[in-house]
């Protein structure tokens, strides 16, 4: 197993339009077979990072390298090849509402392979079993809860046994039990299959518990810190401390920029 990083972000700058740059000359690597968490407040560019890796957008400048191969968002054939090797878990599942649970998980198998239905059935049930939902295979999407939907989406994401699994806010909006289940699944998947996991989240405790490496980003696509969970929890840097401890005020200010209090409430004394 080579030591070269599986994913490399090299000095990437990106903005959806010319007015706002979301990622600014950022460089990161993601090690093979490890769970890496990308933390940061909303809008700091975490989801954009996932999209760049998936080739949905092309970086304005810099390189995105996937297993040694430069990702070109315009090369459809290459994207086709690369995307077969990755699975993405969207924030709210992004399940296909017109299909049943079984058909959702079978979707990538039916579309991307020529496997016979008998084999597909077995694979689908195995994947659902891995996430604990084998009994729910016959349900319609409208009948499943949020936590179940997330798990079904995970089963779908791993249907083709991808080498890279990207999780977009997997813990958002879940109760504690479902969160524990999700965390266990993420860790187990990487441990058992050796897949590289990329985790985007705000949830510090869960991420720290299951990640091998943590990256902290700030607004403007800036890299604040990275290291093992233990290192970040013990960090002396003000920004890192505020984020991992959830302090309401610090480098990220509590107050939105405003004129002085005296001015707004008419308390200024006339000279």
């Amino acid at each position: 197993m080579s030591d070269a990083p599986f994913i490399e972000i090299d000095r990437v700058t990106f903005g959806y339009d010319s007015r706002r740059t979301i990622l600014n000359d950022i460089s990161l690597t993601f090690a093979r077979g490890k769970v890496t968490a990308v933390l940061g407040s909303s809008g700091c560019g975490k989801t954009t990072l996932l999209r760049l890796i998936g080739g949905v957008h092309a970086a304005n400048s810099g390189r995105v390298v996937f297993d040694g191969e430069l990702v070109d968002a315009r090369d459809k054939a290459q994207l086709f090849r690369l995307r077969r090797r990755l699975g993405m878990l969207f924030q709210f599942g992004a399940l296909f509402t017109d299909l049943s649970v079984f058909d959702n998980v079978a979707f990538p198998l039916r579309e991307m392979t020529d496997l016979p239905e008998v084999l597909i059935r077995d694979i689908v049930l195995m994947k659902l079993n891995a996430v604990g939902l084998r009994g729910a295979a016959g349900l319609r999407i409208s009948e499943v809860s949020g936590g179940m939907a997330r798990r079904i989406a995970l089963a779908r994401a791993i249907a083709l046994d991808p080498e890279l699994i990207m999780y977009d806010e997997p813990f958002a909006g879940l109760d504690l039990v479902s969160m524990g289940v999700a965390a266990k699944l993420i860790r187990t998947l990487t441990d058992v299959t050796g897949a590289t996991a990329l985790l985007i989240s705000h949830d510090v405790p869960q991420c720290m518990a299951i990640s091998d490496w943590v990256v902290l980003m700030a607004n403007g696509g800036r890299l604040v810190a990275q290291g093992t969970p233990a290192e970040l929890m013990a960090s002396e840097d003000a920004e890192v401390r505020q984020f991992v401890r959830g302090e309401p005020d610090g480098p990220i200010k509590f107050h939105y920029p405003a004129p002085p209090v005296a001015q707004d409430f008419g308390l200024e004394r006339s000279a």
């Binding site: 995307r83 296909f96 579309e111």
Partner: protein
């Protein structure tokens, strides 16, 4: 100067949006062969678009047939031409009202549901999910619906016209008392299969292209919010209807002007 600048920007934006729409349409066409090879997808869509529009089309066709018969009878008797009631109703339906009214109803019923469906799929990241699974969403999601619309529309228009004529028959022969034999024979000698029925079919296919393409485009480009989707469905109806009416004028001039 500011007003002029704004006018300039508006026109550029308009041109850009037309260009955007044209590119979308061309890519849609390019995805058609791939969708045709998976005809099962098209069949599913025909059911969603065609079967579910049947009731409103048939009901409207019947109503229009009744009304046409009643109204035209009043005018035709003035010229002693009441016997040709069947012929006039037939031609009005087959050449014009069938394709056009069906297209307008289609835009309202099937068009809006297409727009909403695609818009919500986009909002729920289903489209993004498919793209990341390396699936060409144009061929898998959009093109089957497009083909289904183009197939369903002429069939719906034919049913509209047929039901309309039958409705007119009921009113003309049953209510008014026109001779049944004449009702049919004057139509048979006066309506040309290729010129009238055939052109009507061509018209409705063109309208099918317009309505379905507009509906898919609006759904695909909408903002992922409830207001965005609502606004998009309105735009579908308005744009498709205007497009149909404009195209109708063009086609009628081409097909039915005296040589």
């Amino acid at each position: 100067m500011n007003g002029l600048q704004r006018l300039g920007r508006l026109s550029l934006d308009l041109l850009a949006s037309w260009g955007h729409g044209a590119i979308f349409f061309l890519e849609l066409l390019r995805a058609v062969p791939a969708a045709l090879s998976r005809f099962g997808l098209v069949v599913t869509q025909i059911r969603a678009i065609g079967n579910r529009s049947l009731v409103i089309i048939l009901a409207s066709g019947l109503a229009v047939g009744f009304v046409l018969a009643l109204q035209l009878y009043n005018t035709l008797t003035n010229f002693g031409a009441a016997e040709s009631l069947g012929l006039v109703v037939n031609l009005s339906l087959v050449r014009e009202l069938g394709p056009v009214v069906t297209a307008l109803l289609f835009a309202g019923r099937a068009g809006t549901s297409l727009t909403a469906e695609i818009g919500l799929m986009k909002a729920g990241e289903q489209i993004a999910a498919m793209e990341l699974m390396a699936i060409d969403t144009r061929a898998r999601v959009l093109a089957p619906r497009f083909i289904a619309g183009v197939i369903a529309m002429p069939l719906l228009a034919a049913m509209f016209s047929a039901v309309g004529i039958l409705g007119a028959y009921v009113v003309a022969v049953g209510l008014i008392g026109i001779d049944a034999g004449n009702f049919w024979s004057i139509q048979q000698s006066g309506v040309d299969v290729w010129r009238d029925v055939g052109n009507g079919v061509i018209k409705s296919m063109v309208f099918g292209v317009i309505c379905t393409a507009v509906a898919l485009y609006q759904g695909y480009e909408t903002e992922a919010t409830p207001e965005g989707v609502a606004y998009a469905t309105t735009r579908t109806v308005v744009t498709a209807s205007l497009g149909v009416l404009a195209m109708d004028f063009l086609l009628t001039a081409l097909m039915f002007s005296t040589p």
